[in-house]
C-alpha cells in the first residue's frame, strides 16, 4: 500500500510519525530538506535565534522509520484521477494521498509588493529579512546623509496579527537594547519601528482586552502602533497609506496575509478564496476518499460555525485524525469514506509574545497577559520544539540573551552580503 505525503510541516511530519500501518510504504515529499519550527521563525528574522536552532533535517527525524522514504523535491503536479504525484520528470503513484503543503505569503492580488516588502514563511525569508535589517544599520553607520540614515533606521511591519506583533516587538528590542552600544555614529535607539494594521485592533483573534494590552505594551517598548491604516501601495523603500500618508523605510516587512499553497488551484476541487480545499468532515477531499488535505491547505469547520485556525496544533490534530483513519483501513487497503469518524478540533489555546516577559495568552476561558503568559509561551514552545539539540540550544540561547541582551545570531552572510552595490563590488576584491 503506497501512501504519499506532500509537505514536511507540522501536519505532514506528525502524520508520518503517528501512522501505524506496517503494510504502508510511505513517501514524504518536501521542497526543503528540513522541518521548520514556524512559531519561532520571527526570532530568526530578528537575529534572536540561528537558522539551525529552529530547523531539523526531516531525514534525521524519520531516520528510524524504515518504511518511510523522504524525497527532497518540488511537487510539479498532482493527478487525482490517475492517482499519482509528479516530481519533475518522474511520477509517484499512490493509494492514499495526504496533502499538507501549508501556506504561502499572500499579497492580496498585489504580487508586485513582494519585491519591496518580503514576507516571512520560510527560513530563506527569515534570513533575508535579518540580513536586510542588519545591513541597513551598517549602511546607516557608513552614511553621512541624515535623510538616508532615517530611511535606513525605519522599520515598518505590515499586519497586526501574531506574527506582525511579534516581529515589531522583537525589532524594538533589537534596536533599543541589543544594538544600543554597538555603534558610534548612529544611535540605534532612535530607530523607528512602525506596526501598520488595517483593522481596528491588533491580534484580532484574541479578546479585545488582550489586544489593548498588547498595543499598550508595544508602545511602551517604542513601537508606533497604527491600527485602522490600510496600505494603498508599496514601492521601493516607501509605503503609501490609504489616508494619503507615506512612510520612507528601507525595511518594510509584510506580515499581513497567508494563503494556501498555489498547487491546490490545479487540483480541480472546490476551494475558498484563499485557495484552501473545502474538505469533508473526515478531512478527505470531496470525490476522492483516498486523498486528504490537512493543515493550512484545508478549510475545516470547527463545529461552532467558525473555522479551524491555521495554527500548528490544528495541523497536528488533523494529521493524527487522518493517520487513525488510514490505520483502520490499513488491513483492507481500500479507501472507504462511508463510516469514517468526523474530525473534531480541540482548541488548546493561543498565544502571542511581544517581548521580554511580555505575551498574551488565551487558554479555554482564561485570557491573561504579561509575565505568566510569557512563561507559558516559553514553556509550551520549548516542549513542542522537535529534537533535543534544538531544545537545549534554544534554551541556552534564550537564557543567555535574556540576561545579556546579546543576540548571538547577528551574522550577515549570503549573496547580497555587502554594504556596497554588487556593481561597485565587482570592481574590487
Amino acid at each position: 500500500m503506497r501512501v504519499v505525503v506532500l509537505g514536511a510541516g507540522f501536519g505532514g511530519l506528525t502524520f508520518c510519525q503517528t501512522l501505524d500501518c506496517p503494510r504502508a510504504h510511505v513517501t514524504l515529499v518536501d521542497r526543503q530538506n528540513h522541518h521548520l519550527f514556524q512559531p519561532l521563525l520571527y526570532q530568526v528574522a530578528t537575529a534572536g535565534l540561528s537558522a539551525p536552532e529552529i530547523a531539523q533535517p526531516v531525514r534525521s527525524i524519520l531516520r528510524n522509520r524504515r518504511n518511510i522514504t523522504v524525497l527532497m523535491h518540488d511537487v510539479t503536479g498532482i493527478d487525482m484521477a490517475k492517482k499519482n504525484v509528479q516530481l519533475g520528470s518522474s511520477f509517484l503513484p499512490y493509494d492514499y494521498l495526504v496533502i499538507a503543503l501549508g501556506g504561502v505569503t499572500s499579497y492580496f492580488g498585489h504580487p508586485a509588493w513582494e519585491r519591496h516588502a518580503p514576507g516571512l514563511k520560510t527560513l530563506d525569508d527569515a534570513l533575508r529579512i535579518r540580513q536586510r535589517i542588519l545591513l541597513a544599520f551598517e549602511r546607516a553607520e557608513n552614511s553621512v546623509e541624515a535623510a538616508e540614515r532615517e530611511r535606513l533606521m525605519t522599520i515598518v511591519v505590515v499586519g497586526g496579527g501574531a506574527t506582525g506583533a511579534e516581529l515589531a516587538g522583537a525589532f524594538a528590542e533589537l534596536s533599543r537594547r541589543v544594538l544600543k552600544r554597538d555603534f558610534r555614529r548612529i544611535d540605534p535607539r532612535q530607530t523607528r519601528v512602525i506596526l501598520v494594521e488595517a483593522g481596528p485592533r491588533l491580534l484580532p483573534h484574541f479578546p479585545t482586552r488582550l489586544s489593548t494590552n498588547a498595543a499598550a505594551r508595544l508602545e511602551k517598548m517604542g513601537v508606533e502602533v497604527r491600527t485602522g491604516h490600510r496600505v494603498a501601495d508599496i514601492g521601493d523603500g516607501i509605503l503609501y497609506l490609504a489616508d494619503g500618508d507615506r512612510i520612507q523605510s528601507a525595511n518594510i516587512i509584510w506580515a499581513a496575509g497567508v494563503e494556501a499553497n498555489p498547487l491546490t488551484r490545479e487540483l480541480g476541487v472546490d476551494l475558498d478564496r484563499s485557495g484552501r480545499i473545502r474538505v469533508n468532515p473526515d478531512l478527505s477531499v470531496p470525490g476522492h476518499p483516498e486523498a486528504f488535505a490537512i493543515g493550512d491547505v484545508a478549510l475545516v469547520q470547527d463545529g461552532n460555525g467558525g473555522q479551524v485556525p491555521g495554527v500548528s496544533p490544528a495541523a497536528m490534530q488533523m494529521a493524527r485524525h487522518v493517520a487513525r483513519l488510514i490505520h483502520q483501513e490499513c488491513g483492507s487497503g481500500n479507501a472507504n469514506s462511508d463510516k469514517r469518524p468526523e474530525f473534531h478540533y480541540r482548541n488548546k489555546g493561543t498565544m502571542a509574545t511581544i517581548g521580554r516577559s511580555a505575551a498574551v495568552a488565551q487558554i479555554g476561558q482564561f485570557a491573561f497577559s504579561g509575565w505568566p503568559a510569557w512563561a507559558a509561551w516559553l514553556l509550551v514552545h520549548l516542549i513542542e520544539l522537535i529534537g533535543f539539540r534544538n531544545k537545549s540550544a534554544v534554551l541556552l540561547q534564550w537564557t543567555y540573551s535574556y540576561f545579556n541582551y546579546q543576540l548571538g545570531s547577528r551574522i550577515v552572510f549570503g549573496p547580497e552580503n555587502s554594504v556596497m552595490s554588487p556593481v561597485l563590488r565587482r570592481n574590487n576584491p
Copy 2:
C-alpha cells in the same frame, strides 16, 4: 591620533583589543560584520557546526571600547602617500595604518577553476560547500541513473594540507556515520571521498611520521589518499590529473592554496609571489614607518631562515607586537622606525584534526597523534574561541555529535536551495 585597521580577522581584532593608547581614535574596517573563527570553518562546510557558532559580530566584541569605530565596508583603495584609505566614495585619513586583510583562495593562475571547485575561506564559502554536498545526496536519492548517482556521491578534496585533510576526514564521517541511516534508495557509506595532493605526502608542515600517521588514519576512515598527483585541469564536475587519470565528481573542493588579499598588489610595495608584503623586522612596510602589515598579508622571517607560517597564533603575535610599538609612540604620536624592537615569532605548535578522536600535533619537540592530540586540539580551540556563547554552543554541539553521530547543521537554505534547476523551479510554486 587616527589609527585605521583593515580587516577584523585574528590580526586586526587582536590589535584592537590590545592597543592601549587613550589618544588613539581607532577605525576598524571589514567587508564582513563578523569575526570568523577560521580554524573551525571546515566544520561548517561539513555540517558539523552552524555558521553563528564560529562567527561573532565584530561590534559586539568591541562594543565596550568607546574609542573604536567599526565600519562594515569594502576597502576600495589605499593611498600610502596621502595616508588615507578609500571606502567607496569616502576617505579615511590615518596617522597609523594596520593592514590585516588576510588571505584569499589561490588557484595558481587558473581562476576558471573556481567555478567548478570552490575554495574555503569565508562563511559564504563554507555554506555554499555544505549546501552543494547535502543537495548532491538529495539528488542522488532522487536519481535513477547509476552513473549519475556515482558522480553525485563522489567528493574530491584537492590539497593535502591541514584544511584538506580535515575536510576529507569530516566528509568521510559525514557519509559513513552521520548520513548512514538517513536514505532509503542510496547507501551514503558508498560515498567516495578522494584526497588529491601534488606533493609526496600529506601535511607537509608536519614531521614525516605524522604525515604517514594521518594518511593511514584517513584511509582507515575510508578516504582514498592520492599523494603525488598533480591536477592538470578542472571542468564542470570533472577533475583531470596530470597522469591522464580523470575523476567524475559533482563535489570538487579546492583546498590547495592561499595567497594574500589582492589589495596588496595596488600598494606599490615589494611583494613575494603570493602577494605578501615584505615587511621590515618591526613589521612596518618599507618606506612607511606609519604603516604595518600583519598576518597572512605579511612575509616575515622567523629567524631560523624560514618564514612565519600563515596561522592565527602568528597573526595574533604580530598584532600584539604592533600594538606595543604604537603604544610606545602614543605620546609623541609621530611614527619613528629607528629604535623599534624587532618582531620575534614564538611557535607554540601546530595541530590538525582528522576525525573523531584522531588528530596530529607538534608542540615544541613533541610530535604526537591519536587521542591525546585530538584532546589537545579540542581544548586549544575551545579556549581560543572568542565569546562565551560560541564556546558553550560549540561544546554542546560537539558533545552531542560525538555521542550521537547526529550533526545538527544539515539545513539547506540559500539561493540555489532546490534539487531542481531554477528554470524548472520558476514554472511551479
